[in-house]
């Protein structure tokens, strides 16, 4: 997670131009190579976009036309009927609401809980700290996805099956998120915290008014990745959310796979509706990341 987040951040516009100022003899072969690379990559990037476009185009065509001419997307009767049908025939609205509430609460809890623990591990000296650190480090190797069965039995025993909490609680104490905060909070100058301490600030105040504002990149990194992971989670929500109306987008959509073979447009419309929210988040996120880079550049 740490690396994944740092990834787009390092990638600014300058990176695009910097390679091209190389001079010298090999310039011509280099330019040829780069042109070839650009052609290949553009071709592949376009291929990568095909499934999106195909789903979008299909969702806009009438079913009779798709059945008659499956691979010829050009038609004059594009319309949005499939979307209203898809919206009305399945509780998509409820799935959006559930996914949104679950993902947002997971983000809030993960950020608060993990950053508090990281703050304690960095700045506070308490007994058992190293045992705790080792325990959490070991947790990096625990494959949670493999443990759904015992987890299910545990949630049945405490009576939380079918609730939002059953989906939220297991994903909050995330060792990776803790270590992202750990490395960020550790970079805060000691003098700053000691000065605040001398001024009589409580630990809570130091955490909430010094450590957290200074870890904003870590917060947004953890928040964005937690949101994506939580929104796309499939197996665990499938197990614990059994009522159709309480399901999340991925679980609800999965029930449409292999369903009605003739309603191509409606199925693709549902897929597009399922993709839209996160794709929007992703597009916004790109800009936000560029800004984050600019801010860190000033410091």
């Amino acid at each position: 997670m740490a690396t994944a987040v740092a990834a787009p951040a390092a990638d600014t516009d300058r990176s695009g131009t910097r390679r091209s100022r190389r001079g010298g003899e090999q310039d011509r072969s280099g330019r040829l190579f780069n042109r070839l690379a650009a052609t290949c990559m553009t071709l592949f990037a376009l291929i990568w976009l095909v499934p999106f476009l195909w789903a979008l185009i299909t969702s806009l065509r009438p079913n009779e036309e798709i059945a008659a001419n499956p691979t010829n997307p050009w038609g004059s009767n594009w319309n949005l009927d499939a979307y209203s049908y898809a919206w009305n025939s399945s509780p998509l609205g409820w799935w959006y609401v559930n996914s949104f509430i679950i993902s947002s609460l997971t983000v809030v809890f993960t950020v608060v809980v993990c950053s508090m623990a990281a703050f304690a591990l960095v700045n506070l000296n308490f007994r058992g700290k190293y045992v705790l650190f080792g325990l959490i480090l070991a947790g990096l190797m625990v494959p949670v996805e493999a443990l759904v069965l015992p987890q299910f039995l545990e949630f049945r025993a405490i009576g939380l099956l079918g609730t939002y909490w059953a989906v939220i609680l297991p994903s909050v104490a995330l060792p990776v998120a803790l270590f992202v905060f750990h490395s960020f909070i550790k970079a805060i100058p000691v003098a700053l915290i000691e000065a605040a301490r001398l001024d009589g600030a409580s630990w809570w105040r130091i955490y909430s008014q010094i450590a957290m504002p200074l870890s904003r990149p870590a917060i947004s990194a953890v928040a964005i990745l937690t949101f994506i992971t939580s929104w796309n989670a499939f197996l665990w929500p499938l197990l614990v959310l059994t009522q159709t109306k309480s399901q999340t987008i991925p679980v609800g959509l999965s029930s449409l796979v292999g369903g009605s073979a003739i309603q191509y447009a409606e199925t693709m419309a549902s897929a597009v509706l399922g993709i839209l929210p996160l794709l929007a988040v992703f597009l916004v996120l790109q800009r936000q990341i560029a800004q984050g880079v600019a801010n860190t550049g000033i410091k």
Binding site: S15, R19, G30, F33, F119, L147, A173, F234, L253, F282
Partner: protein
């Protein structure tokens, strides 16, 4: 998600922090420390360590998932049953096979693409968008779209085979066709994650190294082979282990697209646990299968951790 093992190699050695001066901590600080750490610790013990303990316990009983209660003690007989069950080993093999099929592609192809894209002067955002966007799409939506494109006779991919004079395999009816379908879908879907990891690492490489190489007369291909790839070796190792771990945990695509079919010939081990635990209600047995699978995954992580540490100490 795939990312769980990431910072392990780096954070392992940095336990010593600024507060780690010798002596007993003041009482107020001790209390504050525990107050800050308690929410995490409680959730961590309850929902990360808890399931491991419960899984171990349940695997020794003949628990069913229909009734509450733990059932009666059966010792290690669940383990004996699991370890001699051909279906269990078949599903373990399917997860391993999926890993063997996807890992080489998903480690090498993003590396090649990231190296090439990093050399381009314009449109970096476009490549990042195209390659990374699928990663934020829910598995079910990916499967809806690909199931439509795999439709026999009318599907886009089925027809694409025809454009090259080939016959498309039976994506849903034959085992090899089903594997092809799932691997292609997975490459499209998860490619961007590794691509971004590589891109970030490439951006860290100093420009001067390339300038020096260019002055010495190194062409673009030589620069990639002699500079970029060697510097990226740690990143390649990281991507490799993350890919192996996430491929071994495959469930979504195979379950949604094929339900492990045709005739259970692609069923991964998580679906086997799912089927025995939740459809056949054999909780104790499925817990034993969970623990065996769990141990395999932990061994892979620990093995990588040890190799990594040995390499690190050899270098210094």
């Amino acid at each position: 998600m795939t990312a769980t093992a990431l910072p392990a190699p780096r954070t392992g050695v940095e336990v010593g922090d600024r507060a780690a001066t010798a002596g007993r901590p003041p009482r107020s600080e001790n209390r504050a420390g525990w107050l800050f750490a308690t929410p995490f610790l409680a959730l961590y013990l309850a929902f990360l360590i808890g399931p491991v303990v419960i899984g171990l316990l349940i695997s020794l009983f003949n628990t069913t998932t229909v009734r509450s209660g733990i059932g009666s003690w059966v010792g290690f007989s669940n383990y004996a049953d699991v370890l001699t069950n051909a279906d269990f080993w078949a599903s373990m093999w399917h997860s391993a096979l999926f890993t063997l099929l996807t890992t080489p592609i998903l480690v090498l192809l993003p590396l090649l693409f990231a190296v090439l894209v990093s050399r381009l002067a314009r449109g970096q955002w476009f490549y990042r968008l195209a390659f990374f966007a699928p990663y934020v799409v829910p598995s079910a939506a990916v499967c809806l779209i690909f199931a439509f494109m795999y439709t026999p006779e009318t599907g886009l991919i089925t027809n694409a085979f025809g454009w090259f004079g080939l016959t498309a395999p039976d994506f849903f009816g034959s085992t090899s066709g089903a594997w092809f379908a799932v691997v292609l879908l997975t490459v499209w879907w998860t490619f961007g994650f590794n691509f971004i990891l590589y891109t970030a690492a490439i951006q860290e490489i100093s420009e001067e190294v390339y300038e020096a190489a260019a002055l010495d007369g190194a062409g673009p291909w030589q620069q990639i082979r002699m500079i970029t790839v060697p510097i990226l070796r740690p990143t390649i190792g990281l991507v490799l282990i993350l890919q192996v771990l996430s491929s071994l945990k495959v469930f979504d695509q195979i379950y949604i697209l094929l339900t492990g079919g045709p005739n259970y010939t692609t069923r991964p081990v998580i679906q086997y646990i799912f089927d025995t635990g939740f459809s056949a209600y054999r909780g104790g047995y499925a817990a034993a299968a969970t623990m065996v699978y769990f141990v395999v995954l932990v061994l892979v992580s620990v093995g990588w951790f040890l190799v990594r540490r040995r390499n690190n100490s050899a270098n210094t």
